[in-house]
């Protein structure tokens, strides 16, 4: 009996999908990367130490993987969730007790979110420790800091959505800090002098009100599910593209001219 998978890999269908035959030749190894819309983010050939786990710890890649997992589990969560102050909490409860694998889905989303914050911090630490922010990669580090911020904001906005005591008060504490901003927060220095009140300050803009309520929930939800992921995705693709343009993963003997 012939292995049906091997048969399939020799068929014209396989070739029509992958645009190449399946012989292990140098040319085909190159085309496996350059001829694949996802893999062609990689260069066809790559430095040895960029492959070894011990150099990069794969932390940037793991962070991106977690982002994808969060995207997928997030879409499924959205099927069951209504961003309404009356409904949200009970939707999450239903998810736990009624929806098949609902609890598992929610766990995956939450633990991936925690892990993503952790891995992005470790990624930054690695990039610092290998001095990979030095020329020509300075600006990609700056993009990275924006990504760090976006990761934290994504997690922060998601915290409110279950509409339980934990999220409610965490967001209350968090946004109260914004109220203390000089000039633009109603409790901050110099804001009284320029007519900033609880009804027109930065916190009001974030919450869509003077307390955490229905509008705050809706704003958090829209930022969490649409606004921030979209912005983060754009920055990530720019980040990856810059890794390539800056000469690939950094290493000791590359001449750091910035021209690829």
């Amino acid at each position: 009996m012939k292995n049906p998978f091997t048969q399939f890999r020799k068929s014209i269908v396989w070739k029509s999908i992958f645009r190449r035959d399946n012989k292990d030749t140098q040319r085909n190894r190159a085309r496996a990367i350059s001829g694949n819309v996802f893999l062609h983010f990689h260069p066809v050939k790559i430095r040895e130490s960029a492959i070894k786990y011990k150099f990069t710890w794969g932390m940037g890649g793991i962070t991106f993987l977690l982002f994808i997992i969060l995207f997928v589990t997030g879409v499924f969560l959205m099927f069951y969730y209504t961003p309404s102050a009356d409904q949200a909490y009970w939707d999450v409860k239903d998810l736990e007790y009624q929806v098949p694998f609902g609890m598992f889905l929610r766990n995956l989303h939450r633990w991936s979110a925690h892990l993503m914050v952790i891995t992005v911090m470790i990624h930054m630490f690695r990039v610092f420790m290998t001095g990979s922010y030095k020329p020509p990669r300075q600006f990609n580090w700056v993009i990275g800091v924006v990504l760090l911020l976006l990761t934290l904001l994504l997690s922060f906005t998601g915290y409110l959505t279950p509409w339980d005591q934990l999220g409610f008060w965490a967001i209350t504490v968090g946004t109260n800090m914004a109220a203390a901003a000089p000039f633009i927060g109603f409790e901050g220095p110099f804001s009284e002098q320029i007519g900033i009140t609880v009804y027109n300050d930065i916190r009001f803009a974030l919450l869509g009100g003077s307390t955490v309520g229905q509008s705050a929930l809706l704003r958090a939800y829209v930022w969490h599910c649409i606004g921030l992921p979209l912005i983060a995705l754009i920055f990530m693709f720019y980040h990856f593209w810059r890794v390539r343009k800056d000469g690939g993963i950094s290493g000791p003997n590359i001449n750091n001219t910035g021209i690829n």
């Binding site: 190159a30 496996a32 990367i33 990689h42 066809v44 050939k45 790559i46 040895e48 130490s49 492959i51 011990k54 710890w57 794969g58 993987l65 909490y89 609890m103 929610r106 766990n107 995956l108 989303h109 991936s112 925690h114 892990l115 952790i118 911090m121 470790i122 630490f125 420790m129 290998t130 001095g131 990979s132 030095k134 020329p135 800091v145 934290l152 997690s155 279950p162 509409w163 339980d164 005591q165 934990l166 409610f168 008060w169 965490a170 504490v173 968090g174 800090m177 203390a180 901003a181 000089p182 409790e187 901050g188 220095p189 110099f190 307390t211 955490v212 950094s250 290493g251 000791p252 003997n253």
Partner: protein, 294 residues
């Protein structure tokens, strides 16, 4: 002890325990690789990776990526089966939990609220942290150590960053998560939380140690001078010392970079200074003004 177990097995806190383990492992790994490279240099050899060849990405890199992805996903699946995400009571605006904690990654900022007013802890410091992080590549002009682990070639940069990252960021988070109980009072993780505990602390402003009312004009002037003097001396003294020694570093750095670097450094060191003053002397404010207090 009971309390310790309760605290670290709280579902959300398990993530922080995992973070601590990962940060420890990777910090040790980074320094071991740095020290190994430094030793090679001393022996006149090249650092690791200098004589790298280029390999085919397919299958070499793609295989490792696949493996790592599988390990991460498997770990997450186990984690999600074993541990359920928390869902507390329905939100209730009239029932404030004590302590009310921000999400764990912001607890470093919340912890700073003990030592600074909210506009500094919650607004100025975050802005300085973000701006400071973004400025790192432009302030660190040392060309060595680009693309490999090393300690000896960039000691100062690594020490400053690790102090900021491991102490002012990670340690403050850990304190916020594990050592803070009702009323944001300090509890060791094995101590039982006591909701009735009150600590009467007499907070003293700096000038009051010398019998000067911090709210008087005189107090205002002294407090202001201390703050300005701190930044002034912190920024000007090193300049003169380096200048006198005709330091190459200073020349390469240039004025703009020097000012930004020394300001950020003073601001960063100001945090532990204020923490120590508050903990040892119960100090509240250094400078009291009608508009803001520092």
């Amino acid at each position: 002890m009971d309390n310790l177990l309760k605290l670290i097995s709280k579902p959300d806190n398990v993530a922080i325990v995992i973070m601590l383990i990962l940060i420890t492992v990777y910090t040790v790994w980074a320094f071991r690789q740095a020290i190994a490279n430094d030793r090679r240099k001393r022996l006149g050899k090249h650092v690791e990776g200098s004589d790298d060849k280029k390999l085919d990405t397919w299958p070499n890199l793609v295989r490792i990526e696949m493996l790592v992805a599988m390990v991460v996903i498997a770990g997450l699946i186990v984690w999600s089966i074993v541990l359920d995400a928390p869902l507390e009571e329905h939100s209730n605006p009239s029932l404030t939990p004590n302590p009310a904690k921000a999400p764990w990654y912001f607890l470093g900022l919340q912890e700073m609220l003990v030592y600074f007013d909210p506009w500094i802890a919650g607004v100025i410091f975050p802005i300085l942290i973000i701006f400071g992080l973004m400025a790192i590549p432009y302030l660190d002009i040392n060309p060595k150590g680009n693309g490999y682990y090393t300690f000896s070639e960039r000691k100062n940069a690594i020490l400053i960053f690790c102090f900021g990252f491991l102490v002012l960021w990670i340690l403050l988070i850990v304190i916020g998560v594990f050592m803070r109980g009702p009323g944001w009072l300090w509890y060791w993780p094995w101590e039982e939380w006591d909701h009735n505990r009150v600590i009467y602390k007499v907070n003293v402003d700096l000038t009051q140690y010398f019998g000067i009312d911090s709210r008087s004009l005189f107090g205002f002037l002294i407090g202001g001078s201390v703050v300005i003097l701190y930044f002034g001396l912190g920024m000007i003294l090193p300049y003169y010392i380096w200048k006198k020694r005709n330091s190459d570093f200073l020349k390469k750095l240039g004025m703009t970079r020097y000012i930004i670097l020394s300001f950020l450094f003073c601001a960063m060191i100001g945090l532990p200074i204020k923490i120590i003053l508050t903990l040892t002397l119960n100090m509240k404010y250094i400078w009291v003004t009608p508009w803001f207090n520092i």
